[in-house]
Structures are given as C-alpha cells and as structure tokens.
C-alpha cells in the first residue's frame, strides 16, 4: 500500500509542477540587473524576473521593500496588498489592479505561481505610487526607483579624446551645483545631490585617464587619472534653464598648461559640436585682481601652538613672518595687507576668517609651523580645505529662505552659510596652493607631501581663496634655528609675495602665470 501511495504522490507532484509551469508561462528567466530602490536610507536592489517578455517582480520582495502587508484571500483566490490602511486588490491572470476601488491596468497579467505572486514592474508607478506616502519616481531607462524627495539628477557622461588630452563632459539635469577637487590620483566631481542617475560608458584607456566611475557617497564622479596626467581645467555652466554642463579637460604632463585654475576652454576649437563656447568659468563671483591680502599669524596668547626643542614658540615665529610678509606686500606690490593679530593675543579661529570676510580680502594666508613626534621630520607644506564633512552643512545652507521685504510680501534669497563659505572657492584655493608650493620649493625644504587638503577650521569660513602654510617643522632642531632667523623668515615672505604676484597675474589673464597657452576669450572672472 505504502509504495503505491508514495508513487501516486510523486506523480501528482510532477503533474502539479508541469501544470504550474504551463500556467505560469514557459520562460521564467531572471532579469540581468535588478531594479535599484533609492531612498534616504540608501540603495536596495529589487530582483526581477522576465516572463513572456514582461519584467515581473515578486510581491514578497515589494512587500519587504515598501513595508506592505500581503493577505492571500483563499476564498476569492485574490491577493490584497495593504499599506497604511490603503489597499490594492489583485486577481491572478488579470492585467488589472484595484487601487482603493479604482481600476488600474497593468501591461501584463498578475501571475500566481504556487504561493509566489508576480506583478509587472509597472505595478510600482501605476498602483503602488497611488497609495504610498512618499513620492515614487520610476526611471525606467536607468532602472531606478527614487523614493521620496531625493535629488537625483540624471547625468550623462561622455569622454572624447582630443590629441593627447581628454575631455570629459558631464551633463546634469536638472541644474545641479558641483565642486571639483583633486584627491591623490583622482579628480572628484561632487554634485550637490543625494545620488546620481547615470550609466557611465566604458572608457578606453588613455594616458591621462584611467577610468571614470561613480563613487561613494553616490553623488560623486571619480575620474581616475592615468600615468601621463599632468593637470586639468574645469568649467561648469548652465547650458539652459534645466541643465548644468561640467567640462573637465585632462592635460598630459609637460603640456603648456595651468595648475588647477578655473581657466577658460582650451584654445583649439572644441570638437564636440554641442559644447557651449565659451562656458562660464568654474569660479565664484569675484572682482578681478587682488587688492587686499589678509595674513593670519597662527595661534597667539595662551594658545602657544607648537614648541621647539630650544623653546621657540609657534605663535612668535608666525607673527614674525607675518610682519615681514605684510611689509613686503605693501612695499613691493602696493596692495593692502592686514594681520588678524599684530600682537601676542588670542584670536578665535572663526574671528580670523570673519576678519578677512569683513575686510573683503581677496586672499587669505594663514601662517603656521608644524610639529611631529619625530625630531627628524622637516619641510614646508601648503594646505587648502578638504570638503569632506561639510557637504551636509552646505546642503542645508543651500536652501533658500524667504526674506520679508518692505511693504509686505517676501522674496526668496540664497543663503550662503558663513560657516562653509570656503566651499565655493576650493578650485581657486587649490591653484593658490599650487603656486605657493612652487615658489616655496625654489627656496626652502619641502615635506614629502608639499600640497595637501585638510578640514582646517580657520579656512572653512573664509569667503575667498584661502590657504594655510606650514613653513617648517619646529620640532626639528635645525629648522627651529632657521625659523628664528631673519634670513629664513624673509625668504618665506619673499616666496609668498612672488606667489601672490603670479596668482594675481593669473586671475588677470584668466589663468596662472605658469601657463603659456593663449587664451581664446577675454580674461577676467564674472
């Protein structure tokens, strides 16, 4: 008896499987790539299956992703999907969904495969979006479902080889502000967005570009630099009301070109017909030229800074060099030079940046001397701000506010948070750091990392190109002696004056003076 009933059961099971395979359609193949659900909580993959050329998604997966509760109505043979008291009713083999009593058609019938239910992916925008709290934005082409009010601009990435240089064009829509910074062997184009909706084409290996990829935290495109990379030029422009175009030209080493300064387009005619010419400079609004330099002698008062083996104090050395630099700028260049402190007084870091802002300084140079746990570390370093950690504050600051006006009503204003004023000057600060490093290198020992980015407090609030110069290591006995000498202090002041001249000339001509490439458009910033 037993063997017979077992065989019977096996037979029934086989028949059931066969029938269900027939019913549910022959070809069930998983889709090549899952859909991506993007919310403020992050990314989540949603696997899909292709049945009869329709892309389907399992209700169980949807329920897990969108906090839906599912109730299999055994009597009626249907399925009820509930979300916060709102319901969608589905029937197997019907290409419709009843959303709160309203019928919505689906491109493919609902499939019931045993206990598994499959619905067309259009269920998400056509049915689920109607009952879900957050906005659901289904971007079919990029296989993305944006949940809630996230800023996810569409980004088209193109790469063109132009002789020995490469132009990378990034078209973002809608308009999205962005910053470009170099970080080690990568250029990071960071968009003011929660994520980017983009597919990046494969990049043919080239001497100046290794790869282009989307990088964490999902709003940044990283251009990996190739071995022959020398420098880059970048511009960002609003091509029309709805989009922003970022053009990055990557130039080979040894090319007659500039450090990372907001330069105009290269002089040869752009090969991309769509390229707007001439684009606006990737630069903050500022008046041309350099008229006022604020010099910030580091530390002061009770805050002594680093201390040398013979007892020299950082606060005294920085004040000494600052005085010499101020005199040199006034006498040699005829510019206004102001000190954030002219005696041994404590000044808060915020007040130093505020002093520069209030005096409408065109450049901010903070002078420091360094310290290491090891006595033999030497060399000067030039810093400009690294943007990590400030993105959030900047986003919050970017919101517009309503300002009441006289006579009633209000007007929208753009808020620039003083705290993160430096963010819009990063490219120019990088250029200033580069010329300062070149001038220092000609006269004083440099550290192994001559130019760096760091989240330095004194730079964050400066609303102008700003750098921090570590002139030498006070913990090294020889350098301590040098730092105390007039000769070394004058050499540093001289090198900084030379760098200011080069930077000023560069702004006047639209690029730093190390450049010999002719400019194709009138100089000057907006």
């Amino acid at each position: 008896m037993k063997p017979i009933s077992l065989a019977l059961a096996a037979l029934l099971f086989a028949a059931a499987v066969g029938v269900s395979a027939l019913v549910s359609g022959q070809a069930q193949t998983p889709a090549t790539t899952p859909l991506v659900l993007l919310s403020s909580a992050g990314r989540r993959a949603l696997p899909t299956t292709v049945v009869n050329n329709h892309e389907m998604v399992a209700l169980d997966d949807l329920a897990a992703a969108f906090q839906l509760s599912l109730r299999d109505d055994a009597l009626a043979g249907g399925m009820t999907v509930t979300y916060k008291g709102k319901t969608i009713a589905l029937m197997p083999d019907q290409a419709i969904a009843s959303v709160g009593g309203r019928l919505v058609s689906l491109p493919a019938p609902v499939i019931r495969d045993g206990r598994r239910w499959l619905v067309s992916i259009d269920f998400i925008p056509s049915a689920l979006a109607l009952i879900h709290d957050a906005r659901l934005d289904f971007r079919r082409a990029s296989r993305l479902v944006v949940i809630g009010e996230l800023r996810v601009p569409r980004l088209v990435v193109r790469q063109e080889v132009q002789g020995n240089q490469v132009r990378v064009t990034l078209d973002a829509s809608p308009k999205t502000s962005n910053t470009i910074v170099q970080e080690a062997s990568r250029l990071l184009v960071r968009f003011d967005a929660d994520a980017l909706d983009t597919t990046i084409p494969a990049v043919a290996p080239h001497g100046v570009v290794g790869a282009i990829r989307l990088t964490d935290p999902g709003n940044t495109i990283a251009i990996v630099l190739g071995p022959r990379f020398g420098s880059f030029r970048a511009s960002s422009v609003s091509t029309d009301a709805a989009s922003t175009r970022v053009i990055v030209d990557l130039l080979p080493a040894g090319a007659p070109s500039a450090p990372a300064v907001p330069g105009p387009q290269p002089s040869q005619p752009p090969q991309a017909p769509a390229a707007p010419a001439p684009p606006e400079l990737f630069a903050p609004p500022s008046t041309p030229g350099v008229r006022t330099v604020v010099i910030d002698p580091g530390h002061g008062g009770a805050e002594e800074g680093a201390r040398g083996p013979s007892g020299s104090l950082e606060k005294d050395l920085t004040l000494g060099v600052a005085g010499k630099l101020k005199a040199a700028i006034e006498n040699r260049l005829g510019l206004r030079a102001l000190l954030t402190r002219d005696g041994d007084t404590a000044v808060s870091l915020d007040d130093r940046a505020a002093f520069a802002n209030n005096n409408r300084a065109d450049l901010f140079i903070s002078l420091h001397v360094n310290a290491s746990l090891r006595k033999d570390v030497t060399g000067a370093e030039v810093f400009y701000l690294s943007p990590e950690g400030y993105a959030q504050a900047r986003q919050e600051a970017a919101a517009t506010a309503s300002l009441p006006t006289f006579g009633g009503g209000s007007r929208e204003i753009d808020l620039i948070l003083w705290e993160v004023a430096q963010m819009q000057h990063l490219t120019q600060s990088a250029a200033l750091a580069a010329v300062v490093e070149e001038e220092l290198r000609a006269h004083v020992p440099m550290s192994g990392r001559p130019v760096q980015q760091a989240p330095f407090r004194v730079l964050v609030g400066a609303n102008m190109p700003a750098i921090l110069v570590e002139m030498a290591f006070l913990t090294n006995a020889e350098q301590e002696q040098a730092l105390s000498s007039n000769e070394f202090q004058n050499t540093i002041a001289q090198a900084l004056v030379d760098a200011i001249v080069r930077f000023r000339d560069a702004i006047g001509r639209g690029r730093p003076s190390s450049s010999t490439a002719p400019s194709s458009r009138p100089p000057g910033f907006r």
Binding site: Q182, S231, V435, E437
Partner: protein, 212 residues
C-alpha cells in the same frame, strides 16, 4: 529627672527607627545592585568576552612620524556596536607595537562613545587629549584620523566620527582640524606605497624633494 528620661526615650526611639531604615530600606538596595542574580551572569559574560577577540585594523604613527600605518591587531570583543567601538578606541590609546607610536597623547582616557542613527559616532575623551597634545597640524591630523579611520574602517555602521572632550564638542584639538562636525574617514594620512601627486602643479613641475 522625668524630662531627662523622656529625652532618653525619644533618643532611643529615634535610634531604633534609624536602624530600621538601614535594615529595611537601604540594605536591600546596597545588596540589590551587585548581589543577587545579575552579578554571576554578568561576570560570566565578562569572562567570556575577555577571552574573545576580534581582528581590527588600527592606525598608529609611522616610524618616520609622517603617517598613520594600518596594523591588523587583536582587539577585545565588545558586545554590540558601542562596546566594540570603545574597545577599538581603547586599543588606539594603548601602547603601539614598536617602532610605531600611538597618535593619542599619553594619559588620554576614553569617556564614552555614542552612535547616532545616521551612523555618526561621537567619541568622548578626557581633557588630556587637548592639554597633553604636542601641537602642530601634522600631529593633530594624525591624532584625529587615527580615531576616525579606526572606527570607520572597522565598523561599517559608522560613517563619520566626531571627537568630544570632557563631554563637549570642541573647535579643534590644537588649533587646526575642525571638529565641529563628524568627519568621514580619510586615507590621506595613511601609509600607501607610492605618494601620488597631490595637485596638478606638483605633478606638472618637479618630483617631491623629499623631507630632508
């Protein structure tokens, strides 16, 4: 006489009452905190944890004083995110393997660790972190990022780290690094084989002269 007796009686009653309070109200509390069931269980768990270790990447100052060196070391296991974060920071404070050194000033103590829902960790140190700090931007960067990188590298739930001192946020430790908000991890001061050019200009002009 009767007055003195009455006084003595009152004194006696008060004494008895005081003893009663001690016996009935306070004593159970004193015992309750560390005696009955909690103690053996906790002790056993502690013993088990003391023996359990995890491998973590810690960051110490290199022999040349210029960088952080990532080192795989054993760190006591901590139950849950906060405990594990504490064990990692404590290891950063503790002695480094020769010839490396800890980037945190001697005498610094860890007070507490909190982690917010967004993955921001707040690490509260004793004041020695500031008062005993040797100063200089390089030292300060190494101090800050030894903690930031150790937590972000080992704990995926931690995205950014803010250093606190004596329970409060501070502007900086030594006048340079902005500590007003959580800092994401950065490998900029971590040892890597070749030093990549930092700026286009540096790449375009000449090779670094080195630190001599």
């Amino acid at each position: 006489m009767t007055r003195a007796r009455a006084f003595g009686l009152i004194l006696f009653v008060l004494l008895v009452a005081a003893v009663g309070v001690v016996l009935i109200v306070l004593a159970p509390q004193w015992y309750g905190t560390d005696q009955p069931s909690a103690r053996p269980a906790a002790a056993a768990a502690n013993e088990a944890m003391a023996t359990r270790k995890i491998r973590a990447t810690l960051f110490y100052v290199s022999e040349d004083g210029q960088r952080l060196v990532p080192i795989e070391r054993e760190v006591p296991y901590g139950e849950g995110l906060l405990e594990q974060a504490k064990r990692i920071v404590e290891a950063e404070i503790g002695p480094a393997p020769t010839p490396l050194s800890s980037a945190l000033p001697a005498g610094t103590k860890l007070r507490a660790v909190y982690v917010s829902e967004r993955g921001d960790a707040f690490v509260d140190f004793s004041r020695e972190l500031v008062t005993a700090h040797p100063g200089g931007s390089l030292n300060e960067l190494l101090t800050v990022y030894s903690v930031v990188d150790a937590l972000t590298a080992n704990l995926p739930a931690v995205h950014a780290v803010q250093l606190l001192v004596d329970g409060r946020d501070v502007d900086t430790l030594a006048g340079h690094v902005d500590l007003r908000r959580p800092l994401p991890g950065s490998k900029r001061w971590v040892e890597e084989p070749p030093v990549a050019p930092q700026t286009p200009a540096a790449a375009a002009t000449s090779k670094p002269r080195g630190s001599e």
